[in-house]
């Protein structure tokens, strides 16, 4: 038996896939020396700002209060994985939450260093450019980990997580002993 619950609201989904598109565009396709790269960077900054606001006033699973990064919950999830327990979370899982905070902070750092390079004070400063590039590489590694985790958890928990970020609903299994967490 599965229970269909609405988890990701429209803004969260639009934000997620817009960020994916803009990040890929700026990381791989736009010329960093040209204006388009900067405009897309500002667009990303604006999107992240909106997401942060939404994290305080949005729907249940969009709020930061729904997925605060507590170490105990994260360790609990690791124990579940190690002991092959399938406790699917309705919203962000604890480890998923950590990844989201990591990605948000990294992207904020990328936008900040990018903006700094347009200022008179930091224009041409080597360390700002290097920080920008290191953060981008870290973001790319994080994204690969994030996608790998989503794929693995989808298989392990038998929940199509990618689909849920498209349609908003998760189909959580409700067999006895496999109650969805929250």
């Amino acid at each position: 038996m599965t229970r269909r619950i609405y988890v990701w609201d429209l803004f969260v989904r639009l934000f997620h896939w817009s960020l994916v598109t803009l990040f890929v565009a700026n990381a791989f396709f736009t010329d960093p020396e040209k204006a388009l790269h900067q405009w897309l960077g500002y667009a990303i900054a604006g999107l992240v700002a909106l997401r942060i606001v939404w994290g305080f006033i949005g729907t249940r699973h969009a709020r930061f209060s729904d997925f605060l990064p507590t170490p105990s919950a994260a360790f609990g999830q690791v124990r579940d994985i190690v002991h092959a327990r399938q406790n699917a979370h309705a919203g962000h899982s604890p480890l998923g939450a950590l990844m989201i905070y990591n990605l948000l902070l990294t992207i904020i750092g990328i936008c900040l260093t990018g903006y700094m390079m347009t200022t008179l004070a930091y224009f041409g400063e080597e360390w700002v450019e290097e920080a920008h590039e290191i953060l981008v590489t870290w973001a790319e590694i994080s994204v690969l980990l994030h996608v790998a985790a989503v794929v693995i958890e989808s298989g392990r928990l038998r929940v199509n997580l990618i689909k849920s970020m498209v349609v908003g609903y998760k189909e959580l299994r409700t067999e006895s002993g496999l109650q969805p967490k929250r």
């Binding site: 008179l120 224009f123 041409g124 590489t137 690969l144 996608v147 794929v151 693995i152 298989g155 199509n160």
Partner: protein, 84 residues
């Protein structure tokens, strides 16, 4: 999920590509040329922030007054392009 093994392989290849040094291009300017061009620009009132090779030209990131400049020089240190 369809072929998670296939997706995992693709991700591992992606990670390996990212780790490759090709991610950071080496575009150092010859030290003697660097010193000469910096001196030349300083004499013109520029604060030289950075010099690097770009498409066969020497690109200078410089500040003068309240303006930012990206100046491109050929091997004879002649200005051939301004902009960015």
């Amino acid at each position: 999920m369809k072929t998670p093994a296939g997706i995992m392989s693709a991700l591992l290849v992606g990670a390996a590509l990212l780790a490759s040094p090709a991610a950071f291009a080496s575009d150092d300017v010859d030290p003697a040329v660097k010193a000469k061009l910096t001196k030349q620009l300083k004499a013109e009132g520029y604060d030289v922030r950075k010099l690097q090779m770009e498409d066969g030209l020497i690109e200078a990131y410089a500040v003068k007054g309240n303006e930012k400049f990206e100046l491109y020089f050929d091997s004879n240190l002649k200005l051939v392009k301004k902009g960015g």
